[in-house]
Symmetry: C2
Subunit: 219 residues, 2 copies
């Protein structure tokens, strides 16, 4: 199946929004792809025609098995390029998403398998997300919660769920990255802000909004 860049972006976005089983909504997809609902309806018809999704008017969208396979390939390419940019070209993790968004569309099995090998067949990308292997299988994500719901005191940062460069820049400034160990000092009920401490750094207070997007697991 030969997909356009636009089609690949749709498939990946549907995969991302699907999370489990729920059908993806026209509006949600339009928002995710920064396009208009009318465009999504158009594309939905096309992708259904190509048997990549199941779609009935007003019923939302879900990936077909082939669609899921396609999505996993695109995700694999995206995350491998992110690894390349960070590990080999010394980009910082908040810069790489945009570039990977383009690189992911160069479709070549051979290129990707060589790239993966060159990188040492990594299994997680710079944001802590698992990288599907050539068959679409990926490491089951280890149990993690958002920082605002963690109950343990000592935690490790495992991922960042919002990958806007605004958030990533903030975390960078505070020296918080994947694998950073931190300790919860206090919860402030008033605004649900949280005081945390990273070793060798002054304690800082972060808003609920930030905490919701930092994924952690107990140390």
């Amino acid at each position: 199946m030969n997909l356009s860049v636009a089609e690949e972006n749709y498939i990946k976005a549907i995969y991302k929004l699907q999370e489990g089983e729920q059908a993806v909504t026209t509006n949600a997809l339009a928002y995710e792809l920064e396009t208009k609902p009318a465009s999504v309806t158009d594309m939905a018809k096309k992708l259904k025609e190509k048997k990549l999704i199941s779609y009935e008017k007003y019923q939302g969208i879900t990936l077909s098995p082939e669609g899921r396979k396609t999505a996993l390939q695109v995700v694999r390419r995206h995350r491998l390029w992110e690894c390349f940019l960070v590990d080999k070209l010394s980009f910082s993790w908040e810069e790489v998403h945009e570039l990977a968004e383009e690189l992911e569309h160069v479709r070549s099995e051979k290129l990707i398998s060589r790239l993966s090998e060159f990188l040492g067949n990594p299994v997680i990308d710079p944001h802590g997300d698992p990288i599907p292997d050539a068959n679409g299988r990926m490491a089951k994500p280890r149990p993690q919660t958002s920082l605002d719901q963690a109950n343990a005191r000592r935690l490790v940062v495992t991922a960042v769920s919002d990958q806007s460069s605004a958030l990533l820049a903030f975390l960078n400034a505070k020296s918080i990255k994947l694998g950073t160990q931190l300790e919860i000092i206090a919860h402030y009920e008033f605004d649900n802000s949280i005081e945390i401490k990273v070793k060798h750094q002054p304690a800082i207070t972060i808003s609920e909004q930030v905490a919701k997007n930092i994924m952690v697991r107990p140390l």
Copy 2:
């Protein structure tokens, strides 16, 4: 100036065909880009509008200074990716052109300067073509002739002018690559074929057509 992939491909093709000063013909460009003359005329109008080329009806196309600058950037990206594929991912030189044709369109100054640095700021690509630097300057190509016109006996292969994978595969099979040293054994006037010998290999006879596309300089 924000160019589409198609526009970049046109600009690069015009650059390639221009060679010196002669204006590029509508048909030549259509052939090079595997499209139709009518499409070229359409695009010529658009590129003229954007001041990347000069173009008058029936008079052919030449790059403007801005057009040349753009072309050199695309060529730089193309050749750096080719280096990456060969040097880091162990592709062979005949496989990389196609992939670089796509990778070259990821537009990011930072990406390209980091990539160049990662590769050790190479100045020639795997086919022996010079790589423009960030300012569009490139090493003056060393004097070279095609193999069919060489007068010296002992020669080094410096480039391959036709980059079809057919030719490159042939050269690969005969273990001829950049830097290969060879010796001319005989010219056969009948069909202008040439017998050559590469060290540690049996002598082979190559057709005029092949010889025309192998660039060499005296050892």
